[in-house]
């Protein structure tokens, strides 16, 4: 099953950052697979390694200070680790595209939107300027902005937050990438816009049969959009499952605790079940299972042995000593 079918196949990827005060172990052997036309959500809190994962796929991790200890990152069967910069530049934007959290930060404020979109069409697809403008208009239409020359002739500050995020998405998909990485694409947006952007990403996935890596810390949003979900904690995937079975048949105590700690109207009058303690630093990860100091089920063995990831059928896997 794990053959060439997968668009992206991350195996046992292990990355640390070397600093003067010691190494920060950002990723501790993660496994992820994404097939074409599938949305995989990577859920975790800040500092859990979500962004390092996406940056390493894009080949944007600076080496040094980063060091790839082991593992492979297969994209369409080719290992991206150790690829020369020139090769990665050809892939980035064309085959693998990315949508960032804050559109305002990632658009060049001194260039018109049109120039920013056509730049990559000219570069990657060898289009003439005129063709590129036509193509750009087409993709603005796809993301719901209409074939608007006004948008093309605007500077980023003239657009609203939601429009900027749509432009970012148009830029990401205009070269028809096979993999789209969306790093918290809705966090900076208002709630009424969130759902529109989620619907857009879901439609685009269908339309272009892209694989999507959707990174978020919000389980509510992930539930709306993902086909499969992986939960990451302190640089390790603790649970992976299909959307339905993660929410209905939660295995790992961390996932369960996260779900229980989300407030809603039904929990009114009851205390929230908070997770004690805080997320560990990448420099100072607890021994054994990294969640054991905060885990309600922790036993002696949890602080000594790192739990292996076990398969519980239907593609549902978890790494916990206490799950049987």
């Amino acid at each position: 099953m794990k053959s060439n079918k997968n668009l992206l196949d991350i195996n046992n990827l292990d990355i640390s950052f070397i600093q003067a005060r010691g190494a920060a172990h950002a990723l501790r052997g993660i496994d992820l697979t994404i097939a074409s036309g599938e949305i995989l959500a990577l859920v975790g809190e800040s500092g859990s390694g979500k962004t390092v994962t996406s940056m390493s796929i894009m080949g944007l991790i600076p080496i040094p200070p980063a060091r790839i200890n082991k593992g492979s990152l297969l994209f369409k069967g080719n290992d991206l680790i150790g690829q020369p910069h020139a090769e990665m530049r050809k892939l980035r934007g064309k085959e693998i595209a990315m949508v960032f959290q804050e559109p305002a930060k990632y658009l060049n404020p001194s260039l018109k939107i049109g120039e920013q979109i056509t730049e990559m069409l000219v570069l990657h697809l060898n289009m003439s300027k005129k063709q590129a403008v036509e193509k750009a208009l087409e993709y603005l239409d796809v993301v719901g902005l209409g074939k608007s020359r006004r948008v093309l002739n605007s500077y980023p500050h003239e657009l609203s937050g939601g429009m900027k995020q749509r432009v970012m998405i148009a830029m990401a998909i205009c070269c028809n990438p096979s993999l789209l990485i969306a790093d918290e694409p809705t966090t900076a947006l208002d709630v009424t816009l969130q759902l529109q952007i989620l619907k857009l990403i879901r439609n685009l996935k269908k339309q272009f049969s892209m694989g999507v890596l959707f990174i978020s810390h919000n389980l509510g949003i992930v539930r709306e959009i993902a086909d499969r979900i992986s939960v990451i904690y302190a640089g390790k995937i603790v649970e992976s499952a299909s959307n339905q079975s993660l929410f209905e048949d939660t295995l790992h105590p961390y996932t369960r605790a996260l779900l229980q700690s989300i407030p809603d109207a039904e929990k009114r009058g009851h205390r929230l079940r908070a997770i004690p303690g805080s997320v560990p630093d990448a420099e100072n990860i607890p021994s054994g299972c990294s969640f054991h100091p905060r885990c309600p089920l922790a036993q002696d063995m949890c602080s000594q042995e790192i739990p292996l990831t076990k398969d519980y059928g239907n593609g549902h896997s978890a790494a916990c000593h206490m799950v049987h």
């Binding site: 529109q196 389980l219 809603d264 929990k267 929230l272």
Partner: protein, 327 residues
Amino acid sequence: MHRFVEIKNLEKTYYGHGIFKSLKNAVKAVDRVSLGIEKKSIFGLVGESGCGKTSLVRSVLYLDPPTAGEVWVDNTLLGDLPASGLRSFRQRMQIVFQDPNSALNPKMNIQNSLEEGLVNRGFDAPRRKKQVSRVLDLVGISPSHSTRYPHEFSGGQKQRIVIARAICMEPDFLVLDEPVSNLDVSIQAQIVNLLQDLKEDLGLTYLFISHDLNLVAYLSDRIAVMYRGRLVESGSTDEIMNRPLHPYTLKLFSSIPGMEITAMTADAGNMPEFSSDGVKPVTVDTRGCHYIDLCPLRGRECAAREPQIETVHGSHKVACFKINKCM
């Protein structure tokens, strides 16, 4: 006799620069907002960014005095107080900001940050130290850490310290401006529980501001929904959650992932969507309903007149001409 906090027809207009341009560029950030908060209750204020929540809060606390309207706290009219009286009254009203990283002075240790207000209250050093230890203990930070600096704490701990600083002055009214939205999911619940405990133990009254409807619904006794400077709907949490009426509230509710959608809001989800791109900014001479550009129910009267916020049932108030169609 007023309720503990009573806000009447509060208005805040920001004027543009220059002598002649000033009126033309004026922005009405808060437009005749009235609301009342009972003692020891939690009032939730919901709205998107830019709707005037923060302007409202700043006006209520007289950090930025309102252009018009009255604010009563515990039967005191804040506008009538002289500057010195306002300063001493303000110890009863404290605020917790969204981002704990920018709310604490990085060059002051925790002890100094917390006791600044107490110095003004004329506490001597031993009493200050005692009070700081007491509040740090209340929020779950070891008092022995009081000589540390903000960078030595995690985000959740920093927010606890900001809360400690607010309750250090022994206020009875606390404004919480998105207190958990910058925190990790697993930390949010800790802070929310802490806020609930403090309210019970110290008998506090909260004005809780958030864009997270799930959280507001969980925490508040009453909810008000704000849109472009105006309150469009207010009522008890049950009234709002079980029977949201204003088209904007429906839109807000149907956009929340994981929110239980009632039969009526499901209709709202199917209502035609208007793009938010053509929305004109609100100026002093904007007439009619502010939601008109996006509203699926809009009619002729919506452009001509401004809907007033009126009682529908019990304490449930809505500002919309078209709500009969929703019911």
